[in-house]
């Protein structure tokens, strides 16, 4: 190809946070897709970005990458606004929103060569390495037309890694992958995070977020309903208990009328509820008096799934 310019070496502001959004709004005529979102992704975070479908996650990520213009507010990547400074704001940043897209009539390697050319010459030397990381080297010369969804997702990661990112923005990277593919994707993200890459991970896979992320933002109907450490969120969720009894239906009735017992539900593995320890003692007496035998009563922290639904289904 034409000229071979040196790789990007312009300094990135080390002090500025990887992602800082303030009052981000996106309106499509009457539809308010994003409603004053603030985000703070810190260096080294594996930051989960959660929300139901249509909550505004992808729109927010597109604004972060400069693909769509905010109606109001700003988003900065390492202190630079992609809307104001263009491609320079994406220095040290890579990733994909929704499914990664490539040219189906080109091979995997040629697709990466194209993207490397658009990144600068340094990226070209990393093609073999990133193909190896995502285990696509044997298929490098094959056209993308014949690639499975999982292979395209992995190529999306490879394309992101070409830029030696300090911030990786991934939108549903495990969507459409089989269980083994999901496991491999998680392992890859964990490895990248261990190498010091800050990861902003938008996901529907709550176990994935719980496993990988240390901080989260939960969005619902365009607004952030929680932002902070995942551990704090789980702590705020209160102490939870799981109960298995000889008569779950009767036990559920008693749970719902017992003072100090909240959020009693019947799940796949018995009953769950929240309560203070002192109230649990009173509950066990009540169950005994009602001839409901306790098979198991175990304390457990609220899962991210519990908290997610509690925050988004109100």
């Amino acid at each position: 190809m034409a000229d071979e310019t040196p790789p990007e070496e312009e300094a990135v502001d080390d002090e500025a946070p990887p992602v800082r959004a303030r009052g981000l709004v996106k309106r499509y005529k009457e539809v308010l897709a994003v409603d004053r979102i603030d985000l703070n992704v810190r260096t080294g975070d594996v930051y989960g970005f959660l929300g139901p479908n249509g909550a505004g996650k992808t729109t927010t990520l597109r604004m972060a990458l400069g693909l769509i213009m905010p109606t109001e507010g700003t988003v900065e990547l390492f202190g630079r606004d992609p809307i104001r400074v263009g491609a320079r704001a994406l220095q040290g940043v890579s990733g994909f929103v929704e499914a990664p897209r490539f040219y189906p009539y080109l091979s995997a390697r040629t697709n990466l060569e194209l993207l490397a050319a658009l990144d600068g010459a340094g990226a070209k030397t990393r093609i073999a390495e990133v193909l190896e990381i995502v285990e696509l080297s044997p298929r490098a010369e094959h056209r993308l037309g014949g690639f499975s969804h999982g292979m395209r997702q992995r190529l999306g990661i490879a394309a992101a890694l070409l830029r030696r990112p300090r911030l990786l923005i991934l939108d549903e990277p495990a969507t459409g992958l089989d269980p083994a593919g999901m496991r491999d994707m998680r392992a890859l993200i964990r490895r990248l995070a261990e190498e010091g890459i800050t990861v902003l991970l938008s996901s529907h896979q709550l176990p994935e977020v719980q496993e990988l992320c240390d901080r989260v933002a939960i969005v619902d109907r365009g607004r952030v309903v929680y932002e902070g450490a995942l551990s704090d969120l789980r702590r705020q969720g209160g102490a939870g208990y799981r109960l298995r009894s000889t008569d779950d239906a009767r036990a559920l009735e008693l749970l719902r009328t017992q003072p100090g017992i909240d959020h009693a539900t019947h799940g796949e593995h018995g009953l769950t509820f929240q309560a203070q320890e002192s109230d649990v003692g009173a509950l066990s007496l009540t169950l005994g008096q009602a001839n409901v035998g306790i098979l198991a009563l175990t304390p457990e922290l609220a899962t991210l799934e519990d908290l997610f639904f509690r925050l988004t289904e109100t």
């Binding site: 000229d3 990458l65 040629t110």
Partner: protein, 274 residues
């Protein structure tokens, strides 16, 4: 340091080269002169009623063939071929979702737009010169590399005739590249390949219809379609530069706003597809 626009342009060409549909237009540009020469060879002895000076001298010199082909293809066929790629070049990437892929690399939107517009223009120019080259080679192979007549009736030597053929095709690029800018604008604004290609061709047809409306002859010299034959000034003795100069500024009136509008739309638009 960001990659240069030249790098982006090279990759735009590489993408065009890798797509089968690119060859549809180029195939048309190459095959029509061949069909013309074959048909002329088959009917060599039935002529004599041709209105055009080159048509009546078709068998005198192979260099008359590219001139006749340009006369024939300039009005519609070459604009159609150029529109096939110009209308597709942004919209197809929008539809496939690859626009977001390239816009999240180290190149600015302005560079991507410039590279795409240049690639579409390059394609248009290749189609024109491919058609001219095939017509010239086939014409010379059939009727020889002989002196050729001009529109004024004077005779020019074969080498000079060849140079004039090249210059005429280069001159024709002015209105053709203007069609390309309109195609690129529609491709950027509509985000739909079919609508952009049809829209570009439709615009050309519309101008031909406007040219036929009685009572508005005054605007006829300013219609883009009227510029498609301005190259003929080169094939007169002495060379008539007036239609070429007129064509240049009229085309600028169409092309520059189209290009600027396309650029601004591309710069500010949301890339929400894919």
């Amino acid at each position: 340091m960001s990659p240069s626009t030249l790098t982006v342009w090279c990759w735009e060409l590489r993408k065009l080269v890798s797509q089968k549909r690119t060859y549809l237009g180029l195939g048309l540009a190459a095959i029509l002169p061949l069909i013309f020469v074959i048909v002329q060879n088959l009917h060599q002895h039935g002529g004599g009623r041709d209105e055009n000076i080159f048509a009546s001298h078709i068998t005198q010199s192979g260099l008359a063939t590219p001139v006749l082909m340009l006369l024939f293809m300039a009005a519609f066929m070459l604009p159609l071929i150029a529109a096939l790629v110009a209308g597709d070049i942004v919209a197809a990437e929008d539809g496939n979702g690859t626009l977001k892929t390239i816009l999240t690399r180290s190149v600015d939107r302005g560079q991507v737009f410039a590279a795409k517009a240049l690639a579409a223009m390059t394609y248009g120019a290749i189609a024109v010169f491919l058609s001219a080259a095939v017509a010239t080679i086939a014409g010379i192979a059939s009727w020889g590399f002989n002196d050729v007549i001009t529109f004024s009736g004077s005779i020019v030597s074969a080498p000079e005739g060849l140079l004039l053929v090249f210059a005429a095709n280069a001159c024709y690029l002015i209105p053709l590249l203007t069609v390309v800018t309109i195609g690129v604008l529609l491709s950027t604004a509509t985000r739909n390949s079919a609508a952009s290609v049809v829209g570009t061709v439709g615009f050309v047809i519309l101008l031909y219809i406007v040219a036929q409306i009685p009572g508005i002859e005054g605007i006829k010299p300013y219609l883009l379609t009227e510029q498609f034959q301005s190259w003929q000034g080169l094939l007169r003795t002495p060379t008539d530069w007036a239609p070429i100069a007129h064509s240049a500024w009229v085309c600028a009136l169409y092309g520059i706003p189209a290009l600027c509008a396309g650029y601004l739309v591309f710069l500010r638009r949301d890339v929400a597809g894919g």
